[in-house]
């Protein structure tokens, strides 16, 4: 009995040691072995043909974009068909994308290859910090879109007001019509989380006076993070009118009871493209950029929007004709001040 017990004890000590070792090993392996996802790629040297070949070799490319979801998907599908390179699309608003980009830059290995968003101050800072790759795409050469050596205009989404025809039996002619008392509690407005939204509110105040934000707030509006959820809410009848949506052509075509109008001077969100240094697919990033800025790419990405190229079917304007945010005017202080004012008024 005693010897049995001792043997058992030894066995148990062994198994205890083994299990301790296993836990320690699992923890160490778990923590150490998973640092990297994919190694950073190298831009092919030689010429554009080499870049294209290397891009096809990379086989996949990741784009983070705050442009319209259907347009980005359409761009991705066209690119995939043409080059056989898979596009992973991450579509979100700037307020969500930029913190993620910041986090990825801290790791030194961004998952995003291409970034398209509308906060110029952010991309400008990335450019100054040296984290952007210089574009070599040929399609950028024949148009005037470079903002500095590293980032460029892509397109501008025209934003306007719209209404649900079941909920509101009339027509809105301009933003001031949103103050109609029948619409109290039934309009949707964007939350000014980033510079572009603040610029939009300041544009409204330019048009209709400094107290326009206050008047809008008095309408007791619902708050949406961006144009897409507001458009959904409009189609569903959750709100009767929206202050900040894309022209509702697709929704109307799909049978949703919606209609829209334009202010004389349209406001639009300018989108800036860039590529991140140290990403896994630098060649595919260049190729996607080239495609995005080509006539075919613009037809897809700038549908319903203002294009970087003239005479693109399906686009509504060119970049030189639309409102562009004045970054010298919309400073971080102006943004913070307006956000504070908005929070007081709308929350």
């Amino acid at each position: 009995m005693d010897s049995d017990n001792e043997e058992l004890l030894m066995k148990m000590n062994l198994s205890k040691r083994l299990s301790l070792a296993a836990v320690a090993l699992a923890t160490t392996v778990g923590l150490a072995a998973c640092g990297s996802d994919e190694p950073a790629g190298e831009l092919a040297t030689g010429g554009w043909d080499e870049v294209v070949a290397a891009a096809k070799n990379e086989g996949t490319v990741t784009i983070y974009s705050s442009q319209g979801a259907t347009q980005v998907d359409d761009l991705a599908a066209g690119f995939q068909d043409k080059y056989g390179v898979k596009v992973e699309v991450v579509r979100d608003i700037d307020a969500n994308l930029l913190p993620k980009i910041d986090a990825e830059l801290r790791t030194g290995k961004p998952a995003a290859d291409v970034l398209v968003q509308s906060t110029e101050s952010a991309v400008k800072k990335y450019s100054e910090d040296g984290v952007l790759a210089e574009p070599v795409a040929p399609s950028l050469k024949d148009i005037d879109v470079m903002r500095d050596d590293n980032y460029f205009d892509v397109d501008a989404t025209v934003i306007t007001f719209a209404w649900n025809t079941d909920q509101f039996h009339g027509k809105l002619n301009n933003y001031q019509d949103l103050l109609n008392k029948d619409l109290k509690g039934k309009i949707g407005v964007p939350e000014p989380t980033v510079a572009a939204f603040v610029d939009f509110y300041l544009y409204l105040e330019d048009l209709y006076g400094d107290d326009f934000s206050a008047k809008l707030a008095a309408q007791d509006p619902k708050i949406y993070p961006g144009a897409l959820p507001a458009a959904q809410a409009l189609s569903s009848g959750e709100i009767a009118a929206a202050a900040y949506v894309e022209p509702q052509a697709d929704e109307k075509k799909a049978g949703a009871p919606v209609d829209w109008g334009f202010e004389k001077e349209q406001w639009s969100a300018m989108f800036y493209g860039s590529m991140l240094k140290g990403s896994a697919h630098p060649n595919a990033a260049q190729l996607l950029t080239d495609y995005m800025m080509s006539a075919e790419g613009q037809q897809r990405i700038a549908r319903k929007a203002a294009s970087a190229r003239p005479d693109i079917p399906g686009t509504v304007a060119t970049l030189d004709t639309v409102h562009r945010m004045d970054t010298t005017k919309i400073t971080p202080e102006v943004i913070a001040d307006y956000q504070a004012k908005w929070n007081k008024l709308f929350r």
Partner: protein, 576 residues
């Protein structure tokens, strides 16, 4: 107090091992070493992210705190957070306790209903919240539209219910928390010996009398624990306020924190400062709860010997649970299903337009499929990591000899993930693991680690509950017969705790497959889980796709539960 008379004698040490004093000394030293190593691992997992966040909040002369104090309407924000926590806790405590009592009195034929109150845990919170929005949105909500056909509401253009208002955010949150309270109270109810209740019945006490005079007092530890958990979970609630509160600007501390990390420029320092009151309060509740329960062994009314006899059954018990099931589970699922089948969401219910296109869209999207896979793998990995840790911690906590400091520290650290909202942990993990030495951001590992950390209290608690219910007599018997500690655990405890472990695996797995709050922070846009994908579709895509993805997500989770039940036994959920 009745329970006091049932107190077990304290363990008197290893009686049979006296002759091997030296060997014991060695074993003891090794045990101490093991405990400290475990403590270090837990301290790093739990403590590091919080330290990192506080460090950030105190940087530049506590600039984070300064900015947090200047958050607009800070007072309202805090007040709303308290309303949400207390309100949803009360809803959950009342419903959870009544449901647990009803479940204990179900007729044998209706035994299957015992699982009904647990279903809201199985269903993804985000899917339920979206389901409620489809039903009770003031304009196009189906239930509202139906209510407006009633004669006294037929003049309304919208409403009568506004799911986007604070009271309804509280109610929806409360439904979600009810399952947790139910679980804890049921566990407590199961350790009440039927003999006591039978005695009370025989002595002429009515059902209500037994409930208030015998059951409630005996349930004190479960109720206090359930209320504490409900309150803490309520404080940390994120899903319903985020999805329902945003449109009307109803923010609570957690959503305000999230928005601080989801804006340009991003402000982690202010976010972590905003979380500090929750952290502090959480710690206080944990301490108060421990004082309230005191010696847990006092409440064991059986030693695991034999089968607990069932209570007298009552017909209203089945009715009550069935009604709860219809309101809390069936209704929101129906809302989801209608929207998922419709081309777009509006208040008219039109079966003629129903289509499966939305499901096709969902299942053809590689993002969604990848997110499902990531959710499942990360959940399994986290279970594998957290269960042995939870078991070891429980064994250490219940082994009431020496190492007071280590045990108190462990106890405190393990409770922290309950007290600290998942959003804070998410932010802390994001910061800790996107920098050297452990760059895990963008990989599933950061998700796995945060999942394992969040589940520490659940794993430990469920292991502890199982061990407590077993009592110490089996261990003592094993020791008296010369069995060592490890042998006792492997040969005696593990098999006896099989159902507790199966239950823990099931609960932790399903909780993790739809974890949302922490995932929102640690996910990278290319490494998503199911909940974050649903949220992205809610923010970016059409509502019908959100509904379809939510249903897919629910089915995947349900499948996971079935697998878990296959392993842990059919009634594994109801025996949690």
């Amino acid at each position: 107090m009745t329970a006091a008379t049932l107190e077990r004698p304290p363990l008197s040490g290893d009686k049979g091992s006296a002759p091997r004093a030296q060997s014991m000394l060695w074993t003891d030293a090794r045990r101490r070493f093991g405990v400290w190593v475990l403590l270090l691992i837990v301290a790093f997992l739990v403590g590091m992210p919080l330290i990192k966040l506080q460090g950030l909040a105190f940087e530049d002369g506590a600039a984070g705190y300064d900015r947090a104090f200047h958050t607009p309407e800070l007072g309202t924000l805090i007040l709303r957070t308290v309303y949400l926590a207390v309100g949803s806790m009360i809803v959950a405590l009342v419903l959870g306790t009544l449901l647990a009592y009803a479940a204990s009195r179900l007729p044998r034929r209706a035994g299957v209903l015992r699982a009904v109150p647990i279903i809201p845990i199985v269903l993804p919170a985000i899917a339920m919240v979206v389901g409620w929005a489809f039903l009770l949105s003031p304009g196009p909500g189906y239930l509202n539209a139906a209510l407006r056909t009633l004669p006294w509401w037929d003049h309304l253009e919208e409403g009568p219910v506004d799911v986007y208002s604070l009271p309804w955010i509280i109610i929806v949150t409360g439904f979600g928390l009810t399952s947790f309270v139910y679980l804890f109270v049921s566990a407590g109810m199961a350790s009440i010996s039927a003999d006591h209740l039978e005695a009370a019945h025989v002595a002429g006490s009515s059902g209500i009398g037994v409930f208030f005079k015998v059951i409630l007092p005996l349930l004190r530890p479960s109720l206090i624990y359930g209320a504490g958990v409900g309150l803490l979970l309520g404080l940390g609630q994120f899903t319903a306020p985020l999805l329902l509160g945003t449109n009307q600007g109803i923010r609570v501390l957690t959503t305000q924190m999230y928005f601080s990390t989801s804006q340009v420029p991003v402000d982690y320092a202010a976010a972590s400062a905003l979380g500090s009151p929750l952290l502090l309060f959480g710690v206080l509740v944990v301490i108060a709860q421990k004082l309230g329960i005191g010696d847990q062994t006092r409440f064991v009314t059986h030693g695991g010997k034999g089968v607990v006899r069932k209570q007298r059954s009552s017909p209203w018990a089945a009715t009550f649970i069935a009604i709860y099931g219809i309101v809390a589970v069936v209704l929101p699922m129906v809302g989801l299903l209608i929207v998922a089948l419709s081309p777009y969401w509006n208040s008219t219910f039109a079966p003629s337009t129903f289509t499966l296109d939305n499901f096709k869209t969902a299942l053809e999207s590689s993002d969604i499929v990848e997110a499902i896979v990531t959710s499942l793998l990360a959940s399994i990995a986290a279970v594998v990591i957290v269960l042995p840790i939870g078991y070891a911690i429980s064994a250490i906590m219940l082994h009431r000899r020496g190492m007071r400091v280590a045990r108190s520290l462990l106890d405190f650290l393990v409770a922290l993930p309950l007290g600290v909202p998942a959003v804070i942990f998410g932010a802390g993990f994001l910061l800790t693991y996107s920098e050297k030495p452990f760059i895990l951001y963008g990989t599933p590992w950061v998700i796995i680690l945060v999942y394992a950390t969040l589940m520490l209290p659940f794993a430990t608690r469920m292991m502890t509950n199982g061990m407590l219910a077993l009592g110490t007599s089996y261990q003592e018997a094993s020791w008296v017969n010369g069995g060592g500690r490890l042998r006792t655990h492997l040969v005696i405890m593990l098999p006896l705790l099989r159902s507790s472990i199966g239950g823990a695996v099931a609960l932790i797995f399903v909780l993790l497959t739809h974890e949302f709050s922490a995932s929102m922070l640690v996910r990278s846009p290319t490494t998503q889980v199911m909940g974050t994908v649903v949220y992205d579709f809610w923010s970016n895509g059409a509502y019908p796709t959100v509904a379809a993805v939510s249903i897919v997500m629910t089915l995947v989770t349900a499948a996971g539960v079935l697998v878990a039940m296959g392993i842990g036994g059919r009634d594994v959920l109801s025996r949690l």
